[in-house]
């Protein structure tokens, strides 16, 4: 058994905005949006890989490609497969637990339907399996007879995870699974994901915008910018010594609890450029404080920097010499 759960190679996804008959008559070229642009990414067996980046960076499109709900324009996803067997292998947990569960079915009916369709257990054992699933996510068996509307956000997200686990997947894709939840219950869902990874050996692609959450849960982090992966590294290394100026800018933007840890050396002006109109050269150069003429001309590939980490920046080494601010003490500033 290989160490790779899923391998994306050269994955690109473009969306045409549709050509009207008039545009076709006048032979105008259709505008295309490149949501994902040549991504190579390995999800290793049993790891939590976080995918971070601003909205519009292509995170969710990449997730859809991974679960097979959309196919890449070019590039491959290994292992390949179609039909029920492939659908079972990769399961998804969505951001909003209020819209991802069928409100007209009881929890038990939602789970039982999946178990029967995919023939996970013999029919006689469906109820027992449903109970096992809800226990697995920390809920009691009596929730099976209730409807989703009877649960709080945190409980619903547990149910959504139970639904994903019903078909016994190898890979869980979680798209912002805690960002709709209150802070006090976020931790329970994060702990659940960590525990399931440990107990079931699940591989998890965890999409999030809250970097403090990512830092808490992920083994590795991939940073996306305008459809590209610009940096991949083990979590601790990524946050202690980022090798891409965009990663550094994200870290400097995090609202902090410690005094003195805010630094605006890498504060970004403006917002991400439109994916319809990607800048030439390095796509980050218009917002980059380290940009040089070379950056405006060269589109840097994702290359190894040190062991086990990669960056798509011509100045990755220079960046390593600019230290992050030391967090101050958590003491009252009287």
């Amino acid at each position: 058994m290989s160490d790779t759960a899923v391998q994306l190679s050269g994955v690109t996804k473009t969306y045409g905005t549709g050509t009207s008959w008039l545009a076709r008559l006048t032979r105008q070229r259709a505008a295309t949006l490149t949501a994902v642009d040549g991504v190579d990414l390995e999800l290793r067996r049993g790891e939590v890989l976080a995918l971070v980046g601003e909205s519009g960076s292509g995170k969710s499109t990449l997730a859809k490609i991974l679960v097979g709900s959309t196919s890449p324009t070019t590039g491959t996803v290994e292992p390949t497969g179609r039909g029920k067997a492939a659908a079972r292998r990769v399961q998804m947990v969505f951001q909003d637990p209020y819209s991802s569960l069928n409100p007209r079915l009881t929890v038990g009916a939602v789970l039982a339907e999946l178990l029967r369709l995919h023939e996970i257990v013999p029919r006689a054992q469906v109820r027992a399996e449903c109970e096992r699933l809800v226990n697995l996510v920390g809920l009691e068996a009596d929730v099976l007879d209730a409807y989703p509307s009877q649960f709080s956000g945190g409980q619903r997200q547990r149910l959504a995870i139970a639904r994903a686990l019903a078909v016994r997947p190898d890979v869980l894709v979680a798209d912002e699974p805690v960002s709709a939840l209150d802070v006090s219950v976020q931790a329970t869902v994060l702990d659940l994901i960590a525990r399931l990874r440990a107990e079931l050996g699940l591989s998890v692609l965890f999409i999030a915008h809250n970097l403090a959450v990512v830092q808490h849960l992920a083994d590795r982090v991939a940073v996306m910018y305008l459809g590209r992966i610009v940096e991949v590294a083990p979590t601790a290394e990524l946050f202690s010594s980022p090798r891409h100026p965009y990663t550094r800018a994200l870290i400097d933007s995090i609202p902090r609890m410690a005094a003195g840890s805010v630094n605006d050396e890498f504060e970004l002006d403006g917002e991400p450029p439109s994916p319809y109109d990607v800048p030439a050269g390095c796509r980050f150069h218009p917002r980059c404080p380290l940009a040089t003429d070379e950056c405006r001309a060269t589109d840097p590939p994702l290359l190894d920097v040190g062991t086990a980490r990669q960056s798509a920046c011509l100045h990755a080494d220079q960046l390593a010499t600019i230290p992050l601010p030391e967090p101050g003490p958590l003491e009252p500033q009287r």
Partner: protein, 337 residues
């Protein structure tokens, strides 16, 4: 840049009392009390955060101050004193005249708060025309100035754009420009950065801070994000199930909380600067607003609960200089986190 801006219309303000005094404010529907006796002060020029989870009543408190409660929800008791005058007993006409030149509000989702069929420059100019008595051309100039002050690049061109033509960050800047266009003394913000990317959030937070510092505007900032309050505000009120449960300076409340709920919030949220700390979730979940028993609403989830907590609501009382907490067992909480 402010030279062409005329002095805004002002009402009589009693300078000897806090700019905003909320006293025993209750808000509810016909069946349920959602905000239950909330009191806090905001001094002129002060930046106060209100934190709490969904359903804590923090947004309704803000909306009650602004007089913008949704249909079916009304103030059932208490007072909202602005500059020494109760807004709730004031004639509606006079109260409306305060909105803009004295009190302004920034909403969470600028796409739904802005008029989709009106150019953003015209939307910003509406307030100054109405409240400052500016002519059409003057107000249009002021709108462009305001957009420049909120850091919108190429403001003259952007003023002619419609909301859907702008990004989320720019739309939020438009809302802020609109809110500060008449020079309010009090700015109410309801989760103004929750819908934004983290890099844009930082820009907007810095903008709010700079505007408030430049003009001496007081800020009430409602959010669920403790770190955002930590970076933006000097004082904080923590709300739970319709009550203010703790209040004090941010630096003290977040380092040595005096209420078990505040402590629970701090322990359950991941902190980027302390990655190895274990997260401790608060057990259970917030109570349903409709069936709240007597006693402290946090009692069922509280690790410090005693019998009295289940029968009596602890009052919000001074527990240390400048610190208020509504807890019978605050002494058992220990010192720093």
């Amino acid at each position: 840049m402010t030279s062409t801006q005329p002095a805004p219309f002002r009402v009589g303000i009693d300078e000897t009392v806090p700019l905003l005094r909320v006293r025993d404010l209750s808000v509810g529907t016909s069946g349920a009390t959602i905000v239950d006796g909330v009191s806090f002060d905001v001094a002129a020029g002060e930046r106060t955060g209100i934190v709490g989870e969904s359903g804590s009543g923090k947004s309704l408190t803000l909306r009650a101050i602004a007089g913008l409660l949704p249909r079916g929800v009304r103030v059932t008791g208490g007072a909202v004193e602005y500059g020494g005058t109760d807004l709730l007993t004031m004639p509606a006409r006079r109260r409306r005249a305060l909105m803009g030149p004295e009190i302004a509000m920034v909403f969470q989702e600028p796409m739904t708060a802005l008029n989709p069929v009106m150019r953003v420059g015209d939307q910003i100019a509406e307030g100054p025309r109405r409240h400052l008595g500016l002519g059409k051309a003057e107000a249009a100039d002021l709108a462009v100035q305001m957009m420049a002050r909120t850091g919108i690049p190429d403001p003259a061109r952007r003023a002619r754009a419609y909301p859907h033509e702008l990004s989320g960050g720019l739309r939020q800047r438009i809302m802020i420009a609109m809110a500060v266009s008449c020079g309010p003394r009090l700015l109410l913000c309801d989760e103004p950065t929750t819908a934004l990317d983290v890099t844009v959030q930082l820009q907007v937070l810095k903008l709010l801070e700079r505007l408030c510092e430049d003009t001496g505007t007081a800020l009430v900032f409602v959010t669920h994000d403790l770190a955002v309050v930590n970076q933006t505000c000097s004082a904080v009120d923590v709300m739970y199930a319709g009550h203010v449960v703790e209040s004090g300076p941010v630096a003290e409340v977040f380092t040595a909380p005096k209420h078990p709920y505040t402590r629970g919030l701090l322990e359950s949220a991941p902190d980027f600067d302390r990655p190895d700390r274990e997260l401790v979730p608060i057990p259970g979940f917030p109570p349903n607003v409709a069936d709240r028993g007597p006693g402290c609403p946090f009692a069922p989830r509280c690790g410090y609960v005693v019998d009295t907590c289940r029968t009596q609501m602890p009052p919000l009382a001074t527990v240390a200089p400048g610190r208020l907490a509504a807890c019978f067992e605050t002494d058992r909480l220990g010192e720093a986190l």
